[in-house]
């Protein structure tokens, strides 16, 4: 469990509170008297529900899968993990219950949250799906690692053995939809969350395809250089191929694009962004993630437990601001709801 919270100013922003700070403090039972408070994701969720006047006990149990945001790009190093982990921690701090699934055998998302996959005992998504398809017993609750208190941010971690998934996926029928079926079969478990985030591997393989086939819109993270734009060709053909193959089932996968690594004095960044916006105007997120040093400081090489997202480590940086703005826009883009309540 990670002990993370934000200070008053951000907490007020995340709750969407416009009143005075002293009024704000009264929303939190234990924290009325102290001056400097740290507000956790759970605090913010409870405050938002309180302001909405919602009695959680009276709400019906959710029975539908929440929106899925799959960070995907056909090239490594474009910032999929940074964006995935960043918006996961931001959405959680907005009060949404977030489940992250590390779908990359490199396990960078697992590492971003300070978990050493080499020494930890990890049950990854591949193992869960394998047991599900063989009708063996598995425990989702044991596989899930709590990161923020109160089920606000959970992770299904990964390790290098996730690469084996392709070898058994090859042998089963309807393999593209095995992950979707796995989610549907465990809808009681997954519907506890307000959003599911997946960090996908860059390669085109059966696992990444299966992860894509469970969502309606992937989040393509594009680094602003020629190499990354070139990979759009691969991504487009991946997506078009799946849509072509499964259109008759009513399946259609859409793409939402976020530009990453913008630097105002690098002209290739501007060229790349111009090409991107000219090509995919209606698919682009308006937020551009800057090339910022804060992102580079997320992962500690020798003190892994100190690693964390930019929002955790430098909440007031320009990088964290971009992540917060992006996460806000994704709430709308993906229709993320607070325990089933659409907040406008």
């Amino acid at each position: 469990m990670r002990n993370f919270g934000v200070k008053l100013k951000l907490a007020k922003e995340f709750v969407g509170f416009v009143g005075s700070s002293s009024e704000f403090r009264t929303l939190f039972e234990k924290k009325g008297t102290q001056y400097h408070n740290i507000y956790s994701a759970l605090d913010i969720r409870n405050a938002r529900l309180k302001l909405l006047g919602v009695d959680l006990a009276a709400l019906p149990q959710q029975d539908k899968l929440p929106p899925i945001i799959n960070c995907r790009m056909a090239k490594g190093g474009t910032g999929k993990t940074t964006i995935c982990g960043g918006i996961a921690s931001a959405l959680s701090m907005f009060g949404y219950r977030v489940l992250m699934i590390d779908g990359d055998p490199q396990a960078s998302l697992t590492g971003l949250f300070g978990i050493n996959w080499a020494t930890e005992n990890i049950t990854h998504i591949g193992e869960l799906m394998l047991k599900f398809s063989r009708k063996e017993d598995y425990s989702l609750t044991e596989a899930v690692r709590p990161l923020y208190e109160g089920k606000m941010l959970d992770l299904i971690a990964a390790d290098i053995s996730l690469v084996n998934t392709d070898s058994w996926l090859m042998g089963i029928t309807n393999r593209e939809f095995v992950f979707k079926k796995f989610l549907d079969a465990n809808v009681d478990f997954f519907s506890q969350y307000d959003v599911i985030l997946i960090d996908s591997a860059p390669s085109t393989n059966l696992l990444t395809n299966a992860l894509m086939c469970a969502c309606q819109k992937i989040l393509a993270v594009v680094w602003l250089d020629g190499q990354s734009l070139k990979a759009m060709q691969i991504l487009a053909s991946n997506v078009n191929e799946l849509n072509d193959a499964f259109h008759a089932m009513g399946f259609h996968l859409d793409v939402h694009i976020v530009a990453n690594g913008y630097h105002p004095s690098y002209s290739p960044c501007k060229d790349a962004l111009s090409t991107l916006i000219s090509s995919y105007a209606d698919k682009m997120n308006n937020t551009v993630i800057p090339h910022a040093v804060s992102f580079m400081k997320q992962v500690e090489l020798f003190k892994e437990e100190n690693s964390g997202t930019v929002l955790e480590r430098e909440p007031n940086s320009i990088a964290a601001r971009a992540i917060i703005d992006l996460a806000k826009s994704l709430v709308k883009e993906y229709g993320i709801k607070l325990s089933g309540i659409q907040v406008i």
Binding site: N243, H247, H252, K270, S279, I318, R321
Partner: protein
């Protein structure tokens, strides 16, 4: 703190361009696949178009359609869009969908299209507007329900392919009095948009005092219209005439309160009380300076009380 970087900001400031000719490989949209094959979807997963202006589907017509479907099958699949997992909305083909339900079928052949809410609204209206059988009032109501989807009325008119002025005629129905709207609900063909716009215009011109007369004239005219004794294009002028007559009659009654002053059988002035106020007029040279001062003093004292 530095301002966040946004795509729109960079385009606006001219740092990046959004109209380059060379573009990257495209993602095919859902409609790129649509025209190929019809798919069978369960009726339970299909909902009608929420913007559908047509509210009445006559049973006889549906039965006829159902019979023809049993006979020769469905020639044209219905058009739907996907709204969420396992949920679709009809873009075109609600009658066919209803006929299928009538036949207790479980599935219907569909072609999938992508459509935004705006598209859905426009398609529902545009399809019906071009048909003869939807009344102006029904069109006006459906325009009203989708208006909020558009940033401005100009854009709305563009999307529907209307002239702007013509669209405002549809909006005229809203300004009509409640009793008339209730009648229109029962009989939407009672008034065309032109008649509604004319009535709105004539009602707007009325002053507060006149509006009561205008309303009763309108009630009378509508009764005549329902009895087919007046043409709907004549209602506006009917109201205008009634109001003018009534105003003239009133002026006539006020005229009686005009009293003339005589001096040796010669009119030398008058006292007039009208809605504008009191007026005392006395011809020049009739009163001496003393009399004038006296009159002024009387009036002055009168107001001093």
């Amino acid at each position: 703190m530095k301002k966040p970087i946004t795509v729109s900001g960079l385009v606006q400031s001219g740092v990046i361009q959004n109209n380059l000719n060379s573009t990257l490989p495209q993602f095919k949209s859902q409609s790129d696949f649509s025209n190929q094959i019809a798919i069978f979807l369960p009726l339970a997963q299909i909902q009608p178009n929420p913007y559908q202006p047509r509210s009445i589907f006559p049973d006889a017509e549906l039965n006829e359609l159902a019979a023809s479907i049993t006979e020769i099958g469905l020639i044209q699949p219905i058009a739907v869009r996907k709204v969420s997992d396992m949920a679709y909305q009809i873009i075109a083909g609600e009658r066919r969908f209803r006929a299928f339900k009538l036949l207790s079928k479980t599935e219907i052949p569909c072609v999938l299209f992508t459509a935004t809410d705006e598209d859905m609204a426009v398609m529902a209206i545009a399809e019906n507007v071009s048909r003869q059988d939807l009344s102006d009032y029904e069109i006006a109501k459906s325009i009203r329900t989708v208006e909020s989807l558009f940033p401005s009325r100009t854009r709305l008119a563009q999307a529907l392919g209307f002239q702007r002025e013509d669209m405002y005629r549809y909006f005229a129905y809203e300004a009509l009095p409640l009793f008339l709207l209730e009648k229109l609900e029962m009989n939407p063909r009672l008034l065309s948009r032109n008649a509604a716009a004319d009535i709105k215009r004539v009602l707007n011109k009325m002053s507060a005092e006149q509006s009561e007369i205008a309303l009763s004239a309108l009630t009378e005219a509508i009764a005549l219209l329902e009895a087919a004794q007046i043409d709907q294009t004549k209602i506006a002028s009917f109201i205008a005439t009634r109001v003018t007559q009534a105003t003239q009659a009133e002026t006539a009654t006020l005229n009686i309160q005009k009293q003339h002053f005589f001096l040796q059988d010669k009119k030398i002035g008058h006292f007039l009380s009208s809605e504008k106020g009191l007026e005392v007029k006395i011809s020049a040279g009739v009163l001496t300076d003393e009399k004038t001062t006296e009159l002024k003093k009387i009036l002055d004292d009168f107001f001093r009380v």
